[in-house]
């Protein structure tokens, strides 16, 4: 099939798709008038039931915690799958990440970038940790905090210190941290089963003040575990891709 035929075929199919979309969208109740009972009901009872003022995180880690376990395992599988897919082929040889370009005139990365990146590593790690442990109060949570924590490590690489990046994030430690994060989430749910409660039931004390750090039971704990799992997964992913740029073919 030539490209022009393919394009005409796509035009016909796209027209059919858009017609179906328009038919579906005219059946919706219009933008801004959402009638759904589930969301309004959760908004009514969430803060009293869980002492968490961040309703979105309460939904993520308690009301729909089972979905979040699944999503976390997608992340886990993607990071594990990358290590499998990016294995060495027969004719590739791995070289040690040493400085072998003393005679080449490569322009060094500018000192502004290096200093700025190095200065931002500490605050970024702190911000990521803070976000991952405050899921129940404000717009934060395990997923965002984990990504920001991973970007603190990426900043080390951007500052030109690739060898420090590799030394600070060895593969064995990252795999262990990621497994602890994913397993911790599942273990919290299983501990509820051990107490004769439904899976992922919120059994820790709920605290007295809505929105405090120690309130809302298992939500804060689960968010912390999700945070370290997401951070480890992303540092693994970036580390795999960085290793690829060092492999040389024979």
């Amino acid at each position: 099939m030539t490209p022009r035929q393919r394009l005409w075929f796509f035009a016909v199919a796209a027209a059919g798709l858009v017609a179906c979309y328009l038919w579906a969208f005219t059946g919706l109740p219009g933008f801004g008038s959402y009638p759904g009972p589930y969301g309004q009901e959760i908004l009514r009872v969430a803060v009293q039931q869980t002492n968490a003022t961040g309703v979105v995180s309460a939904i993520n880690f308690e009301y729909r915690g089972f979905d979040t376990v699944g999503e976390e395992f997608i992340l886990f599988a993607a990071a594990a799958g990358m290590s499998v897919v990016l294995r060495k082929l027969r004719e590739e040889r791995e070289t040690e990440p040493a400085d072998e370009a003393e005679s080449r005139t490569v322009p060094p990365s500018s000192s502004a970038v290096r200093v700025a990146a190095l200065l931002m590593v500490g605050p970024t790690a702190l911000l990521g940790w803070w976000l991952a442990s405050h899921a129940q109060a404000s717009p934060s949570g395990g997923f965002q905090g984990g990504v920001i924590l991973a970007s603190a490590f990426i900043l080390i690489y951007l500052a030109g210190e690739f060898l420090s990046f590799r030394r600070l994030s060895p593969d064995a430690l990252l795999n262990a941290v990621e497994a602890v994060g994913a397993g911790g989430f599942v273990a919290i749910g299983l501990a509820a089963i051990a107490m004769n409660l439904p899976y992922l039931y919120n059994y820790l004390p709920l605290g007295t003040v809505p929105g405090a750090v120690s309130s809302s039971g298992t939500i804060a704990l689960i968010s912390f575990f999700v945070g370290i799992e997401v951070a480890a997964a992303f540092v693994l992913i970036v580390g795999e891709l960085l290793d690829q740029t060092l492999l040389r073919s024979a």
Binding site: P3, R6, L7, F10, A14, L17, V18, Y21, L22, F25, L28, G30, F31, G32, S33, Y34, G36, Y38, G39, I42, L43, R44, A46, V47, T53, G54, V55, V56, S57, I59, N60, R64, D67, T68, E71, I74, L75, A78, G81, M82, V85, L86, L89, E92, A137, S138, P139, G141, F143, Q144, G146, V147, P210, G211, V230, F234, I237, E240, L241, Q244
Partner: protein
């Protein structure tokens, strides 16, 4: 404003699909797939919006103010982070395909059999 956000969603989907179909480079195709995925976030948030509603966080506003739907926000939130990991897996497939077949052109890659 009744249906306009959903028209934008349909446009983004069609444009992304057009990019995937007429692409000559695997990396370009992967970025167009990211665009198609982003249309679903707009659709989710557009469905759950309530006119005049505030964000569903009650630590500084009184407890029963009208708020937008929090369930679709929870879905979109985990979606965004998981999409990045799946994109990384797709990129590793592209790298490995180039190592084995020497090309990143989907039209040439389609001719290989096994």
């Amino acid at each position: 404003m009744g249906i306009f956000p959903f028209l934008v969603v349909a446009w983004v989907v069609v444009v992304g699909l057009y990019g995937i179909i007429t692409s000559r480079d695997l990396i370009h195709q992967i970025v167009c797939l990211i665009v198609v995925q982003s249309s679903t976030y707009v659709l989710l948030l557009g469905v759950g919006y309530v006119t005049g509603g505030a964000a569903p966080y009650f630590f500084d506003i009184p407890l029963h103010t009208k708020a937008v739907d929090p369930v679709v926000q929870a879905l979109a939130l985990t979606d965004v982070v998981v999409e990045a990991a799946v994109t990384a897996l797709l990129l590793s497939f592209a790298i490995q395909a180039q190592k084995r077949f020497g090309t990143l052109d989907p039209h040439e890659l389609a001719e290989f059999k096994g």
